[in-house]
Symmetry: C2
Subunit: 245 residues, 2 copies
């Protein structure tokens, strides 16, 4: 329909990068795109830590579950939900901040995601590619210590950015009928639609791996969800002052 | 730097729309842009409910705190974090889903936000404008009932979309030094930077209201955060099967 829509619809994660550096002026322009995103009640709760220290990058590879591109990408950004800034602001006005509400956790987390998605879109419009790194939540307390995050700040995800040295295919998404409903939720036909989609995903993996892998989407999801999911997150967040009430 | 970056940096929320309808084919193209966004571990946890029923739109105006554009916008979308779909998938494979982890709540919520931001960016590239409606969380249980959301689905926010009948200014954002840090968190100079920024925000409100309003950013935030923030969210989410562990 237009170039922006083509850009958005052609998204895929890129994990291999050339040695070319993203200039700091460009990075800052991307961050300004992030800042321009909508922000709930104007809270502006996103803080980005750009990790340049080579040693910290190495440590983050391990903390994020062994993803080498965290070290090798031109830039590695950690996107944090930050309500410490708001505590500072309350202190400026001698107000007592009512922290710890789950609602604030949601608004801050959403703020961060809207911000980050703008950063990635802006980057991709310049021929830069990247990948989100949710793996930093594997060892979130250690990552927080490494980046000296105070209470009321938590790292939501990382992002590798660089000039691409690979050109992967886009991954097929769920049928529109499964994700878009009218007036009310209903999932009566979803099982059938998902079964058809499973075949597409099988074919996607088959063609990418010369027939070695052919997992259906529903199999992958079912396998993943019988296991516990980062059970440390709930106590970690409470310790940092989030989702207390 | 390029048109995409100009588009992203010129974002502002639009709340007044013409009567022109967004064609369904266009809306579906926007949704496909949302689907193309990154999704944590391929979970694809976003479901969008487009609300066409006029009576439901009217009810949503009140439930969202009296925002008339929820009724009058060409389209009103409710973006839901959906783990019910994953339960369905686990049932397909006779697997027992380990639900209720805070981690899953985060990945689903982030998925929704990345998806929605793509929808908005794609819309804006076509001359459509909009605004996020976090206000649906004011009465989230009633909104969930109205849209017949099952357990493991929660409405994160709404979005009005339409052709703009107003052209507001962009709102100034925090100085870059406050939101972008290198290698570690530090807020030593943030108070000074925020005080300078406060003057910009005062000037923004002054010029928009003919001098009637001139609230600084830090004042607005401090005023807001001395109050409780939707205290029903934590019990609501637990009741729906989220953040239980």
């Amino acid at each position: 329909m237009n170039e922006v829509i083509t850009l958005l619809q052609s998204h895929r994660s890129v994990r291999k990068f050339t040695d070319q550096t993203i200039p700091q002026t460009v990075l800052e322009e991307l961050i300004k795109c992030g800042q321009a995103a909508a922000t709930s009640s104007f809270i502006q709760a996103c803080t980005v830590i750009q990790v340049e220290d080579k040693n910290k990058r190495k440590l983050l590879v391990d903390l994020a579950g062994g993803q080498p591109y965290v070290e090798h990408a031109s830039r590695f950004l950690v996107f944090c939900a930050d309500m410490n800034r708001h505590k500072l602001v309350c202190d400026m006005h001698n107000s007592k901040m009512e922290a710890g509400y789950t609602e604030q956790f949601i608004t801050a987390t959403v703020d961060v995601a809207l911000f980050a998605q703008n950063v990635l879109t802006a980057a991709q419009s310049l021929g830069i590619e990247g990948v989100y790194i949710g793996g930093i939540r594997n060892n979130i307390a250690e990552v927080s210590d490494l980046l000296e995050l105070p209470k009321l700040v938590y790292p939501v995800f990382g992002m590798c950015l660089g000039y691409p040295a690979q050109d992967p295919e886009t991954k097929p998404r769920l049928p529109l009928s499964v994700v878009l409903k009218t007036d009310h939720y209903q999932d009566d036909n979803d099982t059938t639609a998902i079964s058809e989609y499973d075949e597409q995903v099988r074919e996607y993996y088959r063609s990418r791996t010369n027939g070695k892998k052919e997992t259906a989407w529903s199999e992958k999801i079912a396998d993943m969800l019988v296991k516990e999911a980062r059970p440390h997150m709930n106590p970690y967040l409470k310790d940092r002052g989030f989702i207390l009430k």
